[in-house]
Amino acid sequence: MTLHPILAALKKHKAGVTLITLQIALTLAIVCNAVFIIGQRIDRINRPTGMDEHNLFLIVQLWVGAPTGDDAASVDKLDSLQRSDVATLRNLPDVESAIAINTTPLINSTWNNGIGLKPDQRDSTDQAAMYFGDEQMIPTLGLKLVAGRNFTASDVTHMGFQGHMKPPIVIVTRALADKLFPKGDALGKTIYVDRNTPSRIIGIVARLQVPSVESWANSWAWNSVLVPTRLDANYSRYVVRAKPGRLDAAMREAPKALYAANPMRVIRTGSNDDSSVHSFAEIRAHAYRADRGMAILMGVICVILLCVTGAGIVGLTSFWVGQRRKQIGIRRALGATRRDILRYFQTENLLIAGAGVVLGAILAVGLNLWLMQQFQMDRMSLLYVLVGVIVLLGLGQGAVFAPALRASRVSPVEATRSV
């Protein structure tokens, strides 16, 4: 079949053809970018923190009438309160291990420091989030130690929340180690987390995300430093690893046990937002709620857009079929088979959709460039465009099928009517 008659017919419907082409082009541009955004958000939602989050939960509590932590004696008092809490938690039947820690990934409460390679370095080499805890930090969080050793109980010190840290030894993440020492020989090297106090790297963990999931932390999301120091404040955070399958029981028992050991505290329990006992599954869902919302919204937009465009093609083609009943009848009377008529409309749609997707592919890339500039988004892989092109061509063929089938059923007798 030659394309000439189709092109000639299309010329008579310039406005309609232009509109449907533009609609297909815009749909392609938006759907590609929306799917790309969905993919990026899903990657973010699923990225591992480096912790083994199963069976892990977090308790946040505040002591009532506790010392302020302004002087050494009151820091010691806070420290003994914290240590007795950790002991209480470790003794529970459903608990495997427990630690006090200043913050955790996904909760956006962060202590950052510039990291230098020389004392009193003016511009720090990189920045990192500090995690303060004891020698149980690595096993409780489920971090993977890939080089060196863990802290031992004798390494661990304590200080007030607003004290100046001077850690002689630290453990860093591999990401930070590789950034500071690109040759891969970070173990045993000295870094400066506190401007002028040397800290020796005694171990490297595979991965540990910084507390903040906000975009300002994106460039250093894996730069974490573990410091063998308990931080003493008038509040504390405990990360507890429950025995396998005992998470719910441990989450119920832990606050009760803490209250029983010392009632002078506030732990809000319950399932609402005010609760301060949360599993890491809940914390993860909460941390990435905006991303999930955005992904769902984009998904809904894509589906609706494809439906609208499909329906538009069905509507327009139906009208064209209705308009051309007589011509179809004449063609049929002159010997065209049903299949020829079906083909005609399918080819016509392929031409229109083809022009639409070519324009749409250009628009999609342009839109991506604009989003990169306006919203600091990444470059979209052309695979998205390619899949989008195939989907839209398929959509066009699917949408045109029903009206084209109706056209092919036009009887040759129509040619003789109403002449």
Binding site: A15, G16, L19, I20, L22, Q23, L26, T27, A29, I30, A34, L62, V64, T68, D70, R122, D123, Q162, G163, E214, S215, W216, N234, Y235, V266, D273, H286, R289, A290, G293, M294, L297, M298, I301, I304, L305, V308, T309, A311, G312, G315, L316, S318, F319, W320, G322, Q323, L371, F375
Partner: protein, 441 residues
């Protein structure tokens, strides 16, 4: 005539129900999506002080040392000495210092655990300058301020929590370790965005939604608050060795205080700019500043500069309008097909004496009717969309609602969109040559 066109339009819409439903749905969905995002934008980008924001300014100087890495000077806040110098000069009609800090609050005798709340240390002009409404009592007086009086103003939320919403003026409140007398209780007050705290979110780069949080619960005179809550101030941006006592920032090399001024005439604005510049130059000569950069934006420009509208919301708005454009193309295409299909009928009308204008008006009436029905559907979908936004846990969720102007905009947009969609098809239909059509009948 219009009634007749309306009747014709209704008949035409009834003739092809599927197509009508398709067009109405396309417009309804497009309107629903764009009005949902537009309503959120409208609420987030609103003027927090309508009629007054043009007179409110945020002066900035740059006290950071020369060897200090600072890509964005002047920074959002300044050190206390510069802030107190500028404030103490009283060159503006009104002026308020701003510092936030977390504070432990309890009501003496109340049988409940203490609360950790945010306190705003400010100066007495804050309340009249930002039109803060009082339920009971009044702001503290300037003499209480200079006398370092232990007084506070509390939010209506806190008053409900601690005193059951009763008049608590004169009652005592325990802040950290000090007893403080309540002199005022605010009415529920929710400036959107929380404009005066905009200096706190400098790390957000447009991805921060904290500008839509609630105001502080406790307000105290600047100096009294620094004494009462000493040691609890955030040392976010410091150089050198930082403060000698942690959390005690007076006189320290840290940036932590914001200053707002009200300037009621353009002459005063120019005067204040000159004063600010002069101050920075003077401090540079004294060797205290390394650089004499200053900046003073009015409230709305400052919010814009701080990118308070979350980027996700802006992205969604763009997408929603692209979406509306697609729905528009869809409707134009379908209307075009529909009107041209009726070429014969239109030809007869033209031959019987209908003018082009009459045919155009008739087609446009039909398009407008589709738009109106689509608008009703779009409004319903917008309500669903806003309900979904409210269910998301964002700081601004509780603010999102449709107000009268947005309700009006919904229908104007829907009818405008469908008239726009109908214009081209109607124009084409009105150009149909009657003779040609009659011949084929």
């Amino acid at each position: 005539m219009f009634a007749y066109y309306l009747d014709l339009a209704l008949r035409s819409l009834k003739r092809n129900k599927l197509l009508t439903v398709l067009m109405v749905l396309a417009i309804a969905i497009g309107i629903g999506a764009s009005m949902t995002t537009l309503t959120v934008m409208h609420i987030l980008s609103g003027d927090p002080l309508p009629g007054k924001s043009a007179h409110i300014f945020y002066p900035q100087v740059d006290p950071t040392p020369a060897d200090w890495y600072n890509p964005r000077h002047p920074l959002e806040v300044m050190d206390d000495r510069s802030a107190l110098d500028l404030w103490g000069a009283h060159r503006a009609d009104r002026q308020a210092l701003i510092v936030q800090s977390p504070v432990k609050v309890s009501a003496p005798g109340a049988d409940r655990p203490p609360l950790m709340l945010t306190m705003l240390s400010t100066t007495s002009d804050f309340f009249p300058m930002f039109e803060v409404p009082f339920e009971y009592g009044a702001p503290w007086t300037p003499s209480e301020e200079t006398g370092h009086a232990r007084v506070a103003v509390i939010s209506s939320d806190l008053n409900d929590k601690l005193f059951g919403g009763k008049n608590s003026v004169g009652k005592m409140l325990r802040l950290k370790d000090s007893d403080v007398r309540i002199v005022g209780v605010l009415k529920p007050w929710r400036p959107t965005p929380l404009f005066y705290d905009a200096e706190g979110g400098f790390t957000g780069n447009g991805y921060d939604t904290s500008y839509y949080a609630k105001p502080e619960d406790v307000f105290m005179p600047f100096q009294s608050a620094l004494e009462v809550n000493d040691g609890n101030f955030f040392q976010m941006t410091c150089w050198g060795n930082g403060p000698s006592v942690p959390g005690h920032l007076q006189g320290s090399p840290c940036l932590w205080v914001g200053l707002w001024v009200e300037l009621d005439s353009p002459a005063k604005v120019a005067g204040y700019r000159a004063f600010l510049k002069h101050y920075a130059e003077q401090q540079k000569t004294l060797g205290r500043f390394a650089n004499a950069d200053t900046r003073m934006l009015d409230l709305m420009r400052w919010l814009d500069h701080q990118q308070v509208i979350p980027k996700d919301v802006r992205l969604q708005t763009w997408l929603a309008f692209a979406f509306l454009a697609i729905c528009l193309f869809n409707t134009v295409g379908l209307l075009l097909a529909k009107f041209l299909r009726r070429a014969g009928e239109i030809g007869v009308r033209r031959a019987l004496g209908a003018s082009r204008r009459a045919v155009f008006a008739q087609c446009l009436t039909e398009a407008g009717l589709i738009g109106f029905i689509g608008g009703v559907g779009g409004w319903l979908l917008t309500m669903v969309g806003l309900w979904l936004v409210r269910r998301q846990q964002t700081p601004y969720s509780d603010l999102v609602h449709m107000d009268a102007p947005m309700f009006f905009v919904t229908f104007v947009l829907a009818v405008a969109v469908s008239l726009l969609a109908g214009a081209l098809p109607a124009l084409r239909a009105s150009r149909i040559a009657p003779a040609l059509q009659l011949k084929t009948l």
